[in-house]
Symmetry: C2
Subunit: 236 residues, 2 copies
Amino acid sequence: MTKTLGILGGMGPMATVDFIAKLIRLTPARRDQEHIPLLVHAVPQIPDRSACLLQSGESPLDALLKGINVLVSGGADGIAIPCNTAHYWHPELVRQCPVPIFHMADICADYLQQEQVCNVGLMATDGTLKAGFYPPRLAARGIETQLPTAALQQQIMQGIYAVKSGHTETGSLLLEEAFQQMLDSGAQRVILGCTEIPLALSQTRADLQHRGVDATNLLAAHAVDWSLTSPANQAA
Amino acid sequence: MTKTLGILGGMGPMATVDFIAKLIRLTPARRDQEHIPLLVHAVPQIPDRSACLLQSGESPLDALLKGINVLVSGGADGIAIPCNTAHYWHPELVRQCPVPIFHMADICADYLQQEQVCNVGLMATDGTLKAGFYPPRLAARGIETQLPTAALQQQIMQGIYAVKSGHTETGSLLLEEAFQQMLDSGAQRVILGCTEIPLALSQTRADLQHRGVDATNLLAAHAVDWSLTSPANQAA
């Protein structure tokens, strides 16, 4: 029995599109009816996640909970959130949600453990770095997290907000250079830990593609597998 | 007040993604929060529309109504259906839906009238041709519809189902050739009247791009305009 995936999206809007496209490409389907059923809440008016974590801006929690309520009422059996930063609120969302909510960082860390990676760079928003949910999950699997220098992190944030404002080419240049610097500093692989980053790097050099760990794609693969294979009502 | 757009999608899944991407590109936004709020029901298990219309297959009406119910309950103020063939059921859906549902063929016909087109080719599914909702809407605006020959229509259907099964390159070749034949037969412009067709022709020759009328893009432009500019609760 194929289960319905709820997507709490809109953070940002094009990252949600990228996530859905990845779900579809990863589904072994030959006709419409073999694809997994989706319900998508993409209300981008959700307060900015990084602004809340760093500048005590308005909390997105109420808006996130409202979205989850719409998804569950509409029939979602499990929920994916294609926004890394929003996972800061994952524990609170899980407490208030009757269906499983996947955690991008857990899925990413499981993958890196399987791949026997010891040392990984993390490209993410200031909010995700401050929230700090990646390093302990990686450490628990024996993987060291390499964070960008302050100057490099500033460049990464500029790249991410360039993508959000529709300036994908500018974003690509900034993010590709930052990616290369993290590899030069010794990272074996680099987590693309903000859903805007894979959008900007989708056409990047093959050697970088190979070293990047696309957290959006891993979440999509996990969700497809969950929808198609695990029995109804099983935990994520 | 930005209104929430409900999308009754999944027909097919990638066509829904294409529609959402077009909505985002057409929105004059510089940050996440300026994009229009979306609720998307993409449950591709909806019975095949053409199979119902041509071979008395299972009707998709109940599944379509169920989707609309989820969208309205979740807060949609208006609904777009990025599937031309499904518009056969538009009158019945409108009767049972408390919010406006846009009609792709009306939007397309309005656009062609504005562009002072007199004669337009129609590339669509067998189901849409049988349903016959394009020609009278075009005729009401003084536009003649040019339909493909039976052999060409068979090629168009092969192209559409190739796209649905993930064979986009094969689909592109079949559909591009059919498009050219319709122009050779004297059509001024050609309606891409199945949401799979713009997917297949997104990389086509510039001269064809210029002559195609992308019904998906027109629906997206209409929906963005409706969400951002018309007063709440106004009819679509």
